[in-house]
Assembly symmetry: C2
Homo-oligomer: 396 residues x 2
């Protein structure tokens, strides 16, 4: 294809493709009817998508007679997304197909403070054997999605003054991958990708959704009107430093006092328990004590839930979500954390806003970030712009 | 046009039309290039829009020679939107053109508690002479936008248990208009339409915007990712009942204590001033005292600003907006209210979120709702779905 023709052919091929993304096979006639394009035009554009390897002809199966019409459909395993979920002390790497199923995943210890090159190299070193296991190579990767434990400037894929990640500030993460894999790289903060991951696995379509991560820090990912909302500076959902009632006099590492994070995060609860003479340093220790049935730990987690509930009651007034999922390490304390949240939310928020509100523990557990990184990559790759870019690349 | 053909022709005509909505004239060649449609197809579809009266040929003006190409453009005054802003004690009625300019408007006292029929009849009785003044009739109206002072189920246009509006609960507002004007009717709550109105008049394009109305009640309209967010039950932005720190022991009409509205609304501040021996019943009285330079009133308004700032600091953490506009009657107290808001917001919210945040008094003043009702109507009428409906209606 040539310049202008390619640009237009690609753009329109992608329009057709948006129809096929649901996985349902369709005949040329159906596609022509729905798009209003001439059959010949549909044919040309399907050729583009076929040559990109994204769609294929479906076996017509048994026919009642006559020549069955040719039907085309998305090929879910045509390409793969590489999903990388970077935490402070571990990295999870996975491969997903084009509908977001995680085909393989592996977890390894890292130290994010070692800086971008060691951490990203480690992730790639995990990805290669996974690819091999599937009998594929790096060229099968259509896009890469990465979550990082800190603020990220989404448009450029560069971390933006991340407190836990020395050496990462302003680092060109997509640029680093360019030398290794020829695919677009989408970078976002970990809570946003967890929100995407959990949202994609809800039982029904939910337009207004809040994901809350409670671990070393506390943050939220917001989906409004069906879309992830990053806000003007990409820091929407940064609820860890909202002040809560119980917080007077409690100093936070941000310099303010009474922040949610200083009261209800894993380390904050662990610190309270240490004052009671218990041995707890982290969210993990707190959850272990709760699981062992320690009453003081259960009470402390429940109180953390109440503090969180106070902030969530306000967020419900703002955003009016229909589902709130609570994830992160502290969510493993299960119903005790949620009981505190519900206690305050149902007391504080307006009845109309809570009548149909579901508050639950994230069902994707520790896979939320990995699933979300995959979804982020696929959404981009299969968007009109993504298809256009694929077609442009193929024409060189 | 006939059935299937009309549906597709209309849908595609609307696509072309979305290009023309910016008001810039374009040639057939430009339109064919951008859409990828054949020139003959573009011609057919432009005929649809021309027959709907929405576009016209632009005078080519002076040419350097040869036959100048025919250019088409939106005709802003081709049709009108009827905008109605219903308050508790007044109604504003206006006519806007297709780009949202308010051509004429009029205000009249009503009592919303009289019920829907008297109030809506009054609005229509105001609209007719306005139409006449412009030399137009009801058939010129392409859509009707209405704001009501209570919760509205946006999809059906029915008020939903509005506390100040007896007789309106569940009333079919669009149905009422059907007997009078053949045009789609969009109904939303007053704060949402004020947000749309103010947002449409900002100096630059703002994707993440918060409009706060402070009057008898307190509420917010939220624009995230460029779209008004209504939430799952249509009550996003209902911030009047978020608890604030100063509120312990202060009972709210909702039954909870410490709600923002119970401390910072017009009646709440007036009540505080009465305790100081001042004569103040409403937001209007408070503003009059502030304007006259009364120090106690100024201090009370500034404290109301601090209370509001506390809730806005949390909302900034959630939504990360780049502009917050404060409107409603209390906004007429100007910088005194804003000073309190800013004092708390800059102390409480994270620096990254406030670095480029603009907090200002709404520039559209008491026209915010009217402008927004017009924008709501136009957005709907000129959307692909709206154009399709126009075309369907024209084919009968």
């Amino acid at each position: 294809m040539t310049d202008g023709g390619s640009a237009l052919g690609g753009a329109d091929a992608s329009e057709l493709f948006q129809l096929l993304r649901d996985g349902r096979p369709r005949t040329m006639t159906e596609l022509a009817t729905v798009t209003g394009l001439a059959r010949s035009t549909v044919g040309l554009r399907l050729n583009t998508l076929t040559s990109l390897g994204l769609i294929g002809t479906v076996d017509p199966g048994l026919s009642t007679g006559g020549r069955p019409p040719r039907r085309v459909a998305l090929i879910p395993d045509a390409r793969l997304a590489l999903a990388i979920d970077v935490g402070a002390s571990h990295v999870q790497v996975g491969l997903t197909n084009l509908v977001g199923d995680v085909l393989l995943r592996r977890r390894a210890p890292i130290n994010v403070a070692d800086g971008p090159d060691p951490v990203l190299s480690r992730a790639l070193a995990i990805a290669d054997p996974l690819l091999e296991e599937l009998g594929r190579s790096r060229t099968a990767i259509i896009a890469i999605g990465i979550g990082l434990p800190g603020p990220v400037h989404f448009e450029t894929g560069r971390p933006s003054k991340p407190p836990l990640m020395p050496g990462w500030d302003g680092f060109d993460v997509p640029g680093w991958f360019r030398d290794h894999i020829a695919a677009p790289v989408l970078v976002d903060n970990d809570v946003n990708i967890m929100a995407l991951g959990e949202h994609s696995r809800l039982e029904r379509e939910v337009g207004h959704f809040l994901f809350v991560k409670v671990a070393t820090g506390i943050g939220a990912g917001i989906i409004s009107g069906g879309l992830l909302q990053r806000g003007a500076q990409g820091i929407a959902g940064d609820i860890g430093h909202v002040r809560v009632g119980r917080g007077a006099g409690v100093l936070c590492r941000c310099g303010n006092e009474g922040c949610l994070e200083a009261l209800a995060s894993g380390p904050a609860v662990a610190s309270d328990l240490r004052e009671d003479g218990l041995d707890a340093q982290s969210a993990k220790d707190v959850v272990a004590l709760v699981t062992s049935g320690d009453l003081r730990a259960i009470q402390a987690v429940r109180q953390a839930g109440r503090d969180l509930g106070e902030v969530l009651a306000a967020s419900i007034s703002f955003l009016n979500p229909s589902v709130i999922s609570i994830g992160g390490q502290m969510a493993a304390a299960g119903e005790h954390l949620l009981a505190g949240v519900r206690e305050v939310v149902y007391q504080r928020a307006m009845p109309l806003a809570t009548r149909n509100l579901q508050i639950m523990t994230a069902r994707t557990g520790d896979r939320a970030g990995l699933i979300g990184a995959g979804m982020l990559a696929i959404h981009h790759a299969l968007s009109p712009r993504g298809i256009q870019a694929l077609d442009d690349a193929a024409s060189f």
